[in-house]
Amino acid sequence: MSDLETFRAETRAWLDKNCPDSIRTPMPEREMPWGGRNAKYPNPDTKIWMDNMASRGWTAPTWPAEYGGGGLSKEENKVLQEELARIKARPALTSFGLWMLGPALLEFASEEQKKKYIGEIVRGEIRWCQGYSEPGAGSDLAGLQTKAEDKGDHYLVNGQKVWTSYADQCDWIFCLVRTDNSVKHDGISFLLIDMDDPGVEARPIKLISGSSPFCETFLTDVKVPKENLVGELNKGWTIAKRLLEHERSMISGMGMGAGAASMGGMEAVAKENFGTDGERIADPSIRSAIADHKMDQQAFGLTMKRASEQAKAGQGMGAAASMFKYYGTEVNKRRFELLLDVMGTQALGWEGEGFDSKELAVTRSWLRSKGNSIEGGTSEVQLNVIAKRVLGLPTA
């Protein structure tokens, strides 16, 4: 047996024993394994599964074992993911620490910092949120004003962050702060802040969709030890850019269509609502619009696939992330607009009687989709990036 085959056999046996049955079912949103100090586990198996996986470092399978990661090779990880998919296991840990902060720490942090924070992330002990945007610094992120003053052994932090995901439920926040007022990008540093520290307050923001996944986070005279600085002083923008690219490619995946799928396919809904003419949807405008949209979606999917194949072949597409962020989110918004056209009044409910849960979810997702072309860099910013970096159009 090859090493990989052995690994597969062992993994399968281990999963068989260590993955609880209830974890092999679709995950309701309330059972999302965010971890953290104040985590609640409506299903106790969630915690058991997280701990089991973390004990092998498999919540972060390819991170170095020395810091608590799984230390797996690419090939081994592929096997692990296949085996997890085979038993339909839920993710053991969903966390901004895993997706965003961890990779940045592994690239930019000091040895001590890696030792301290990576393990906490892998074990789901600390739930992280991201403190980037500010009320006056949205698209122009580098215009941020939250100030960290050097007070000898600590920084004194004052300012306000906004769009911090679930900050009201998080333990720590990784922040961009201004450490030099005289320059823009080169006066920004990357700081880790314990949200239990005095002076940190998070207030949920209510969105038009009715949910509150984001907070405003106020930082008032917060004392942050100097060892919480990641990377060099005033070099935080480098780290930020890396994280932003990552975020953009995460969001652009939205173009590929979960939301509408929950309704069993737009064509089916349209046939039900408008009747059929042979095989065709009886309303020709709706039929046309659906075909247009599906062509759009297929074409976008093919382009994502092409980019990935070309990347593997070493032929970069150039600022592909911006293009996908732009196009993917715009396609996603159009999909929901169209889905609402197809569903008519049944997609216009808010709550209560008269609508089933899938219908109500479509309404909320439609509203939520409007933010896709704003968060993680607006469509306008992506178009700027394409125009300048890819097309080489000059600046005035």
Partner: protein, 379 residues
């Protein structure tokens, strides 16, 4: 000159503008929502609306109204649209009173219209039975039973259905779904046995209901208009409803456009007022053209009603189709140009976005009216 308001109309507009902006600002709708108001509108506001004469604006003076006509109610709806004012004005004073005026007998008019003008009687027009408006597809039945009619069926998306005192129900007395012939309309007290009204909470925080009719027995005098022959009057009233709705949508569009323009002039990013960015300037200029065009089609459709022109259906479909698409464009651009703050419940643009979507669906969306416009053009 249809496109220029008369002095009287200008005064009405100024009065309505002042009233809605001062007495029924958007915070009024927020309060109704946050307090989970049972009515879904403010009875005090309604009283004021009645006192201003808006409830009787279509009703002749000898029946207690102010007789300002379609142009008048259009002007009021536009101003109401600017602040998302929730009231039974649309369901009662336009659709309800309109249907009684168009199809009612002299005694029905004399009995009911003064009550409407006095704000004492709330009405709702029950038409739709499916997810999409299509008044020819009425399948609900009204069967003769001696001197009575018996209603069976279900109505959906009845605007203000849960607060109406009387429902005006379109049902089939003969023919089948798809036929214009065979549709009759009935006046049904909301508390009649067999009527079950379920309020549906809509995304725009306005009022609608699903209403089931289970062997609802009503007397023959409840018939409104000719037996089997209500469709022509119904369509006229629906066209008036579509035009007034377009006027309301226009008010909403104007508010969103104005608000967004103000934001573009204030918000700074990249050390610049974002309104200096040419890409946004061009999009704003395109929106401006769209708003101007919307104003034209709404005014023209109101004039068509006012002057009883014979192209009312075409003008109504043009207005409703155009406003449905324009409000989609402008509310979406409004959210996008506001950026993150536009996604929050704290600013109003999202409320307008939600309302625009419901308005677009009411009495036929852009698809429906585009096709109708083509049919009316004979192609």
């Amino acid at each position: 000159m249809a496109f220029v308001l008369s002095e009287e109309q200008t005064m009405l507009r100024d009065m309505a503008k002042q009233f809605f902006s001062e007495q029924v600002p958007v915070t009024n709708l927020r309060k109704l929502r946050d307090d989970e108001s049972d009515d879904g509108f403010d009875r005090d506001v309604w009283k004021q609306i009645v006192e201003l004469g808006f409830a009787g604006i279509l009703i002749p003076e000898d029946l207690g109204g102010t007789g300002f006509g379609p142009m008048g109610i259009g002007i009021v709806m536009q101003e109401a649209g600017r602040t998302l004012a929730a009231s039974p004005l649309y369901s009662t004073a336009i659709l309800g009173a309109g249907m009684i005026m168009a199809a009612g007998s002299e005694s029905q008019k004399k009995d009911l219209l003064p009550q409407v003008a006095a704000g004492e009687l709330l009405l709702a027009l029950a038409i739709d039975e499916a997810n999409h408006h299509n008044p020819l597809n009425i399948a609900m039945t009204a069967t003769k039973d001696g001197g009575d009619f018996v209603l069976n069926g279900e109505k959906r998306f009845v605007i203000d259905g849960h607060t109406a005192d009387k429902l005006i129900v379109a049902a089939r007395t003969s023919g089948t779904s798809g036929d214009a012939q065979g549709i009759s309309t009935f006046l049904v007290d909301a508390d009649t046995a067999g009527v079950s009204i379920t309020r549906t909470l809509m995304v725009d925080t306005r009022n609608a209901a699903n209403i089931a009719f289970d062997n609802v027995k009503i007397p023959a005098v409840a018939l409104l208009g000719g037996l089997d022959a209500a469709y022509p009057e119904l369509e006229n009233v629906l066209d008036m409803g579509r035009v007034c709705l377009s006027a309301e949508m226009l008010g909403g569009i104007e508010t969103v456009f104005d608000t967004t323009l103000t934001y573009l002039k204030e918000r700074k990013q990249f050390d610049a007022i974002i309104g200096t960015f040419q890409a946004l300037q061009h999009r704003a200029a395109e929106m401006f053209c769209e708003v101007e065009i919307c104003q034209s089609v709404v005014l023209d459709a109101l004039s068509a009603l006012e002057e009883r022109r014979n192209d009312i259906p075409r003008a109504a479909s043009l207005a409703k189709a155009r406003l449905s698409e324009a409000s989609r464009l402008i509310t979406n651009e409004g959210v996008q140009m506001h950026g993150g703050i536009g996604m929050t419940d704290a600013v109003d643009v999202g409320l307008f976005l939600k309302r625009a979507r419901v308005q677009a669906q009411m009495l036929g969306d852009a698809n429906f009216h585009r096709s109708r416009y083509a049919d009316l053009g004979g192609y």
